[in-house]
Symmetry: C2
C-alpha cells in the first residue's frame, strides 16, 4: 500500500505512527502540501477533497481522512479495544480531535510555523478553543494512562500528533502535567520523540 503524506502534517504522521507500530509495510509518497501537490488533477482524482494523508491500497482503492485510515489499519489489532464501549470511546475521541482540537491547535501551529506569523496574530477564537481543548484533555487523563481502555489506541495516536507539537502553535503544556506525562508515555510506546 501507499501513503501519500507530508511530514509537516500531524494528520499524516498519525498514519506513519500507526503503520510503523503495527509493523505494516508501505511506501510513503512525499506530497508537498505547501507546493500544491495535494491539489494537482492527478491527486484530486484519487482524493477529491484535496487533503493528505491518503492511503491507496494495493488494488488501487483510495481511503482518505487520517482517523479513518488509522482505524482501518488498526482493525483487529491491539490499537482498537475489543470491548464495545471502549471501542466507542475511541471513536468519540477521534471525532472530538477532528472537530474540537485540530482546527484550533493545528491551525495555530500552521499560522506560526508556516505562515511565519507571531503568536499575537493567531485568531483569538481559535486560541481560546485550543486552550480549552488542552484543558479538557488534562482533565480527561486524570487517573488514567490512555484515552480509552488499558492500552495505547488510535485515539492516543490521533491526539498525540498535534498535542506533542502544540508549543509550535504557541500553546504552553507546562501547565498541563498530566498531558505531558501522557505524551511521554505515548512517545515511548511508539518509539518516537
Amino acid at each position: 500500500m501507499k501513503v501519500y503524506g507530508d511530514r509537516i502534517s500531524g494528520n499524516c504522521l498519525k498514519v506513519q505512527y500507526t503503520a510503523d507500530y503495527l509493523g505494516l509495510e508501505y511506501e510513503w509518497v512525499d506530497t508537498d502540501i505547501l507546493a500544491g501537490e495535494s491539489r494537482t488533477p492527478g491527486y484530486l482524482s484519487l482524493n477529491p477533497a484535496g487533503q493528505v494523508p491518503l492511503l491507496v491500497l494495493d488494488d488501487g482503492r483510495p481511503l482518505a481522512q487520517s482517523n479513518a485510515i488509522i482505524t482501518h489499519l488498526a482493525r483487529d489489532s491491539v490499537l482498537l479495544p475489543s470491548d464495545p464501549y471502549d471501542r466507542a470511546k475511541v471513536d468519540e475521541w477521534l471525532f472530538w480531535e477532528q472537530y474540537s482540537h485540530e482546527p484550533y491547535v493545528a491551525v495555530c501551529r500552521f499560522v506560526m510555523l508556516y505562515q511565519k506569523k507571531p503568536a499575537s496574530e493567531r485568531e483569538p477564537w481559535r486560541v481560546e478553543r485550543g486552550e480549552g481543548a488542552l484543558d479538557l484533555m488534562e482533565q480527561a487523563l486524570k487517573g488514567r494512562d490512555w484515552f480509552s481502555g488499558t492500552h495505547l489506541s488510535v485515539a492516543d495516536i490521533a491526539l498525540l500528533a498535534y498535542t506533542r507539537l502544540a508549543h509550535e502553535g504557541g500553546f504552553d503544556l507546562d501547565t498541563r502535567p498530566t498531558v505531558r506525562g501522557w505524551i511521554a508515555r505515548s512517545e515511548d510506546a511508539l518509539g518516537i520523540g
Copy 2:
C-alpha cells in the same frame, strides 16, 4: 438508554434517525442548547465538552460525539457494511462530515435560523466551504445510491442530517440533483421527510 438532545440540532437528529431505524428503545431527554442546558454543571459532569447529543447507557456510562454514538448503535447492523473497505469508507465520510461539512453548512444554518441574520451576514469563507462540500457530495454520488456500500449506512444518516436542511443555511440544492435524489431516497428509507 437515554439520549440527551435538542431537535433543532442535526447532530442530535442523527441519533434519533439511527435508533428509530434500528428499532432501539430509548428515552429522549430534551436538552435546550439555546437555554444553556448543555452547559449546566450537571450536564458537564456527563459530557465535559458541553455538547449534544449525548448517549447514556443503562449502566450510566456516557458516550458523546454524534458520529461515535450512531456508529456504536449501528454495530453489527445493516447500517455498517461488513466489508472492511466499505466500513472504512463509512468512517471516511463520517470524519469528512464533521470536518468539512458541518462547520460550514450547519453553522450557516445556525446563523440564519437562530441568530436571525440574513444570508449576506454569513461568513464568506464558511459559505464558500459549504458550497464546496455540497459540490463534492454531488460528484461523489454520481452513479451510486449510497455513500458507501450497497445499503443505507450511518454515513448517509450523518450527511443527511444537515444536508436536507441546507436551504435553511442559504444553500441551494436545486443545482445538485444527485444530492436531492439521494436525500429523497434516504428520507424514504428512514421514513422521515
